[in-house]
Amino acid sequence: MTIEEQIRDIVAKITRVDKSIITRESTFKEIKADSLDVVQALVAVEETFGIEIPDEEAQQFKNFGDFVSYVENHVTQTEKV
C-alpha cells in the first residue's frame, strides 16, 4: 500500500467519508473534516509513519495532496521500503 493510500484510509476513517471521494485536490472542507478531524488525522499519520508534522507546516496544506506530499518527503527511505 502506498503512502497516499495509507493516508487516505486514515483520513476516511476519521472523517467517516467514502475514501473514493478523497482526491489529491480535495480540501479538508470538501471532505467535511473539522479542526478536530484534522488534528486527529495529523496525529494518526505521525504515529503511522513515525514523523512529526509541525502545526505551522500543517497550516500550509491547501488540500489532501499537500498533506500526502509532505509525508512522502519526510518519511525515511527505509520506511518507504
Binding site: S35, L36, Q40, E52, P54, D55, E56
Partner: protein, 261 residues
C-alpha cells in the same frame, strides 16, 4: 519564595499560560520540563528563554490525551531525573460547539486532555514525589462554573478537573503533596485570539473591576505562590484569577463598571 533545586513539569508549557508559568517557576530557581504537543518551535523557544534564566530546561513531546504518551513522558522523567517536585497540569484543548452539535468524539477528545490527563499525570507524578512532598496545580477556567456560548465541553471538563483537584488534594495529602487549581477568566493569549475571531468571547475589560484583561503572568504568579511553602495549608482549592469579573453581574449593569482604567 525560592524553588531552587526543584524540578517542575509544565504540560502545555511551550506557549500561553503554560509558558508564563514555566518562566515564573524558572525565575524562582526551578529546573523545568516543558511538555508540548503541536508546537515544537514555541516549546523550544520557551526552553531557551528558561535557560537564559540560569536553570535547566528539557523539552518533551507528549499528547496528554493519550495515556501511552503520558507513560512515555514519565518514564523519561523517571529515567533521566528520578524525581519530580512540581506538576502543573496545564495542557488543554477543546472543541467549541453548540450543545446540539456535540458528538462523542469531541467530548472524549476534550475530556481526555483537560480532565483525565491530570489524573494520569498526578498518579505518575506522585510516585516521583515520594518522600519529597510535592505540589500539583491544575489550570482551570471560569467556564467550569459559568456558562459561555459554545464552551460546554470545555466547561464541563474544567468542572471535572476542579473536582479531581479536590480529591487529589485529600488522597495525596498524607504524602505531603499539596494540590490546588487556578481558574482564570479570558486570558490574553494566542488561544484567546481564536475565541475572539470566532466571536465566542469579546474584550471584557469593561466588565473587569481590575480594569484590564487577565494576562498569563497574572495566572503564573498565583501558581508560583501555590508551589511555595507559604501555601502549605491551602488544599484542594480553586483560586480564581479574573480581576473580579465573576464577583458581580456587570452584564446587567446600566453603566460600564470600569471607570478607572
Amino acid at each position: 519564595m525560592s524553588l531552587e533545586g526543584k524540578l517542575a513539569l509544565v504540560t502545555g508549557g511551550g506557549r500561553g499560560i503554560g509558558r508564563a508559568i514555566a518562566l515564573k517557576l524558572a525565575s524562582q530557581g526551578a529546573d523545568i520540563i516543558i511538555d508540548f504537543f503541536r508546537r515544537r518551535d514555541t516549546a523550544e523557544q520557551t526552553a531557551k528563554d528558561i535557560e537564559a534564566l540560569g536553570v535547566k530546561a528539557e523539552v518533551v513531546r507528549a499528547n496528554v490525551g493519550d495515556p501511552a504518551k503520558i507513560d512515555e513522558m514519565f518514564d523519561m522523567i523517571g529515567n533521566k531525573f528520578g524525581r519530580l517536585d512540581i506538576l502543573i497540569s496545564n495542557a488543554a484543548s477543546g472543541v467549541g460547539r453548540p450543545i446540539m452539535d456535540i458528538d462523542v468524539k469531541a467530548w472524549e477528545w476534550t475530556m481526555d486532555i483537560n480532565a483525565r490527563a491530570c489524573l494520569l499525570c498526578a498518579q505518575r507524578a506522585a510516585k516521583l514525589m515520594e518522600g519529597r512532598g510535592g505540589k500539583i496545580v491544575s489550570i482551570s477556567s471560569l467556564g467550569s462554573r459559568f456558562a459561555l456560548p459554545n464552551y460546554t465541553i470545555v466547561g464541563v471538563s474544567k468542572a471535572a478537573l476542579e473536582a479531581l483537584t479536590r480529591y487529589l488534594a485529600i488522597e495525596l495529602a498524607p504524602q505531603g503533596i499539596c494540590v490546588n487549581a487556578v481558574a482564570a477568566s479570558a486570558v490574553e493569549t494566542e488561544a484567546l485570539k481564536f475565541y475572539f475571531k470566532e466571536g465566542l468571547v469579546k474584550d471584557n475589560r469593561q466588565a473587569t473591576p481590575a480594569g484590564r484583561m487577565v494576562i498569563p503572568e497574572d495566572v503564573a504568579d498565583v501558581v508560583a505562590f501555590l508551589c511555595s511553602e507559604e501555601a502549605f495549608m491551602i488544599r484542594g482549592q480553586t483560586i480564581i484569577v479574573d480581576g473580579g469579573t465573576s464577583v458581580g453581574l456587570f452584564a446587567l449593569a446600566g453603566k460600564e463598571n470600569n471607570e478607572h482604567g
